[in-house]
């Protein structure tokens, strides 16, 4: 593969060009292209089945695209050549649409497992990961206000708390790019607001892509918005520009 060397590539932390994915003939991603600047936060909206989650699957190595380029860190890394664990190590973290935490581990252990650091079997068995100071875990839990729950099993948490625990795991992992899939589903208004603040705070030193249906939340993020439809970008710009775009209105109302 010959990475193109325009500024779009060399300046971007993430660069997708002509990415297509088909499932049994159905095109979930249809020549999807976009770039994300370092330090940028991008909100992604789009009707059900638009391909938002599939896009994240491609970036994180879960799904291999049939076609197209997926480049990371100024075009230096071809993500399609790496698997999930390698991509996580390269610095891309992900929160899933359906919150997935390790239910039979305590909240603190969930964070412990996610914390940045060596991840080979040997260091897990004898190495540094067994001597992580509790303060490091607490510091992360404090940011998502779960510190009182540190000893509880993650499986006992409410839906919203699980979402936060997953964000805490992302924080612990400290990736340079965060992919956050529907973080406020099932949250109260107050929780949603707090999550928006948290993501904005995280965005100070991380690049972030947030997929969300909740327009109030997207507005609160105050970042560039991109609308996906049938596996491609339908519109991109400020929230007001995208929300008033006739084609965007059509795909949302048409459903």
């Amino acid at each position: 593969m010959n990475p193109p060397s325009s500024h779009a590539v060399t300046g971007a932390i993430l660069y997708l060009d002509g990415v297509s994915v088909s499932f049994d003939g159905f095109r979930a991603l249809n020549s999807l292209s976009f770039t994300l600047e370092p330090g940028e936060m991008r909100a992604v909206i789009g009707p059900n089945g638009a391909g938002k989650t599939t896009m994240m699957d491609v970036i994180t190595g879960k799904t291999r695209p049939d076609d197209g380029d997926v480049l990371f860190r100024q075009g230096t890394i071809d993500l399609t050549r790496h698997d999930e664990a390698a991509i996580a190590e390269l610095g891309i973290g992900r929160k899933f649409q359906k919150p997935t935490v390790f239910e039979s581990h305590s909240v603190a252990d969930n964070v412990l497992l996610a914390l940045k650091g060596p991840r080979d079997p040997l260091s897990a068995l004898f190495g540094a990961r067994n001597r992580i100071p509790a303060a490091r875990i607490d510091a992360v839990l404090e940011r998502v206000r779960l510190q009182e729950h540190r000893r509880r099993l993650a499986g006992e948490l409410s839906h919203g708390q699980k979402q936060w625990l997953e964000i805490a795991m992302l924080l612990a992992q400290d990736p340079s790019l965060l992919l956050v899939d529907e973080p406020v589903a099932g949250m109260t208004d107050a929780e949603t607001e707090a999550t928006a603040e948290l993501l904005k705070d995280i965005n100070r030193d991380h690049s972030v892509i947030v997929v969300e249906h909740d327009m109030g939340f997207v507005r609160a993020l105050g970042c560039r918005v991109m609308c996906l439809h049938e596996g491609a970008v339908l519109a991109e710009g400020s929230i007001d520009a995208v929300a008033s775009n006739p084609r965007v209105i059509e795909v949302y109302l048409g459903r």
């Binding site: 992900r94 497992l113 991840r119 079997p121 897990a124 067994n130 795991m169």
Partner: protein
């Protein structure tokens, strides 16, 4: 300070378990060798052998629990690793027979003379030396598990598919070891052992010593397994069991974690098999039977999956039941009883005997203790 840390490391039931095994290791020799046969406290030698056999099974169960209970890999082939360890020990014992065989050949075991073989096959060399045989006891099952795991885990074979190919593995070995030309004694296997390390295998003292060694090996296995499951490595195993792809997405190479624990578990099984053979006095291809591997899964489920003590306890309890069943008129019904037990435990006691004991203890002992992390998740 260190003692306190050790107690916390073991948890209550681990301590009880160690105390029980230690008591057996101390008392059984006394009650067999020193207490006269007429006394009610006398333990007959046959009983010593039976208990030794149970302890070997308990070791196998702990190894199996590491992969199944903690990491969710439902291996239906662990009997093969047990049998391979047994064969490695059997080969050492065969070489110790020397000229005392029926044909009196100084080097070749009887079955080879019978087959008209002129010299020892290459893979039998070295087995006259105990340290070499001991190495093979660990290495052969370990290597097979490593190769199997390398192929299966890297191509992400999981769930029922993995169970099926592990079952196929033990079945293939069963067929192979049945063949006379394989050089492992065909369907008769290896037997008629005379000495181990110069001591007569059949002697009462040797039998007691083998029992003690098995007890100590079980304690060692338990401590090793406990160290693994309390480390972060153990937490990663449980994470893999509960949400494998999530574990990959936070950067763990799941296949390596599985490979290490699977290989180690096979080595534990091999060691258990090696201790089993001199006590039982025979190893033959029936040890590779697929049902053996399935029975081992039942032990773990009955005792309590994801609790090391439960796995060991399950092995002893189910085998004690089996002994009672298969020595009486109930013998033809054993497999039905085993199947029934498995269904009963799966439905009524998903956390096994240890879970049940914990609940009773919490209700009557007052000291309510929540489920430990590993056993709380009950995803099959």
């Amino acid at each position: 300070m260190i003692t306190l840390r050790f107690v916390r490391f073991l948890e209550g039931r681990g301590l009880v378990f160690l105390a029980l095994v230690a008591a057996l290791v101390l008392l059984v020799p006394v009650c067999n060798l020193l207490v006269p046969p007429g006394s009610p406290f006398h333990v007959p030698t046959g009983m010593v052998v039976l208990l030794g056999k149970y302890l070997c099974y308990a070791m196998l169960a702990i190894g199996l629990d590491l992969v199944w209970g903690y990491c969710g890999i439902l291996s239906l082939g662990h009997g093969a690793f047990f049998a391979l360890g047994g064969y490695a020990m059997g080969m050492y014992l065969m070489r110790q027979i020397g000229t005392r065989g029926v044909y009196g050949h100084p080097v070749l075991p009887d079955f080879m003379v019978f087959l008209n073989w002129k010299e020892l096959p290459w893979f039998w060399h070295g087995f006259d030396m105990f340290p070499y045989a001991l190495l093979m006891v660990l290495l052969v099952p370990g290597l097979l598990a490593f190769v199997f795991g390398w192929l299966a885990f890297r191509s992400r074979v999981t769930g029922v598919y993995l169970s099926i190919i592990s079952q196929a593995l033990t079945y293939a070995l069963l067929l192979a070891f049945f063949r006379n030309d394989m050089g492992f004694g065909g369907n008769n296997g290896l037997t008629d052992f005379k000495d181990i390390l110069g001591f007569p295998v059949q002697a009462q003292g040797t039998r007691v010593a083998l029992f003690v060694i098995t007890g100590l090996a079980l304690i060692g296995t338990f401590l090793l397994a406990r160290m693994i499951v309390t480390s972060t490595y153990g937490k990663v195993l449980v994470a893999i069991r509960d949400a494998e792809s999530r574990t990959r997405f936070i950067g763990y190479r799941v296949e390596y974690f599985k490979l290490v624990v699977f290989t180690l578990s096979a080595m534990i099984a091999g060691l258990a098999g090696a201790l089993y053979v001199p006590q039982i006095g025979i190893i033959n291809p029936s040890e590779f039977q697929p049902t053996n591997s399935i029975e081992a899964i039942v032990w773990v489920a009955v005792g309590g999956r994801g609790t090391l003590v439960g796995a060991a306890l399950g092995a002893v309890v189910v085998n004690a039941l089996k002994t009672v069943f298969t020595t009486g008129f109930l013998a033809p019904y054993w497999l039905f009883a085993l199947g029934g037990l498995f269904i009963l435990v799966t439905i009524a006691l998903p956390r096994g005997l240890v879970g049940l004991a914990g609940d009773i203890f919490a209700r009557f002992g007052g000291a309510g203790r929540g489920p430990t992390r590993a056993e709380a998740g009950q995803t099959p």
